[in-house]
């Protein structure tokens, strides 16, 4: 096939050329798609915020602030305040857990000012299709329905196996537990905001 001989110089030159052309091409494409990718991610976040808090008229994306999370304070959660005019009507908190069946799960949890959970939306997960992915509202509304309108300070939002009051998704105790862990993390952040305001 190849007409060129496999001398050392030829091989080095060829590989150099191939890699140079490849990396230049990718550099260009990366630059071209950078803006649309960021925009797609932002849209996704915004639509998640819209789902989890009552209707608002500000731009939560621009007013995002961070609060420390976790015991050692090394980590932080992003909080998106939802406002009507100047008045804050709720907080969308981006939270996570690493205890999912396949690791990381990211949720957007919306709190009303009273501390009640308005709604929860799943941003990212890699759970088993058909089992753990039922945590998404469109696939299994019953699960997230158990959280709506409840205040985590008054209700024990854990699965029944752990002594809480939630029915876990069938055959999906680990994912359900992880979900509760993420919600709990968001709730701690919410409490933190409340103590700051006073």
């Amino acid at each position: 096939m190849a007409k060129k001989e496999s001398t050392f110089l030829n091989m080095v030159l060829t590989l150099f050329l191939v890699s140079a052309v490849a990396s230049t091409t990718l550099g260009f494409v990366y630059e071209l798609t950078k803006a649309p990718i960021a925009e797609a991610k932002r849209q996704k976040k915004l639509s998640a915020i819209k789902v989890v808090v009552p209707s608002f008229d500000n731009n939560p994306d621009g007013e995002m602030f961070k609060v420390p999370a976790g015991e050692n304070g090394t980590d932080s959660l992003e909080v998106y305040p939802a406002k009507n005019g100047e008045e804050v009507i709720g907080y969308a908190i981006k939270t996570y857990t690493n205890q999912g069946f396949s690791g990381l799960i990211e949720l957007m949890v919306g709190f009303e000012l009273s501390g009640n959970i308005h709604n929860i939306s799943v941003l990212y997960h890699a759970e088993t299709p058909g089992l753990g992915d039922k945590m998404e509202e469109k696939k299994f509304p019953k699960w997230v329905g158990q959280f709506k309108g409840k205040n985590p300070s008054e209700h024990d939002l854990r699965v029944k196996k752990d002594g809480g009051e939630l029915d876990a998704i069938t055959a999906t105790t680990i994912s359900s537990r992880a979900y509760c862990d993420a919600v709990d993390r968001a709730h701690r952040a919410f409490e933190f905001i409340n103590t700051q305001d006073q």
């Binding site: 990718l26 649309p36 089992l131």
Partner: protein, 195 residues
């Protein structure tokens, strides 16, 4: 071999998934639904055609001893390109295929065609071979995805036709092997008859 035959070969006779059994990792991994299978298949087809074109164009300039690394770099470039474009313009599909897009690089189907066909044939033939093989692979992925989705979730391309769940095992990995096995039997049976 006539050009038409080169093209149709990829579909039944030498279907990359069901007969050559190439590229099984993404095949079994992504086909939990028909739409995932279709998306993955089209992405692979694109990579296959593009890398076949480039490989057949540069085959004379590449010394035999470094051909595999060169092919891999070419393929990886197109895969990364597909990944970036997908993430930018069809984020929903990218999310469900995400993990498997980079795996197209090591899909033996793509490298196999570059090595076995494109490096020995003209550009036009390579394009035809790439499209045939790619569409055959897409067909296999979509078929397997449909079977698993119908049996496992009771829906077809996302449209539910039964209440509740189907046989969950078909959505999980063991079901992929089961469904795959029966489809291979079926295709082989058809092939035997026509041969």
């Amino acid at each position: 071999m006539s050009r038409l035959k080169t093209f149709t070969n990829g579909f039944i006779k030498e279907n990359p998934a069901f007969v050559l059994l190439l590229g099984l990792c993404p095949l079994l991994g992504v086909t939990t639904s028909a739409i995932n299978g279709l998306g993955m298949g089209l992405a692979t087809t694109f990579v296959l055609i593009m890398s076949n074109i480039v490989v057949s164009l540069v085959k004379d300039f590449i010394p035999a001893k470094v051909r595999i690394p060169s092919f891999i770099v070419i393929i990886a470039t197109f895969v990364t390109l597909v990944g970036l474009v997908m993430e930018a313009y069809v984020p929903a599909l990218y999310e469900s295929l995400g993990l498997f897009i980079p795996l197209i690089v090591v899909n033996c189907l793509v490298l196999g065609r570059a090595e076995a066909f494109a490096s020995k044939n003209s550009t036009l033939d390579s394009i035809i071979d790439g499209s045939g093989m790619g569409l055959g692979f897409t067909f296999a992925l979509t078929l397997l995805g449909s079977v698993r989705e119908i049996l496992g979730s009771g829906s077809f391309f996302g449209m539910k036709f039964i209440e509740g769940d189907g046989m969950l095992v078909f959505v999980l990995s063991p079901g992929a092997f089961l469904a795959m096995g029966y489809l291979v039997v079926l295709i082989n049976k058809i092939n035997k008859k026509t041969a």
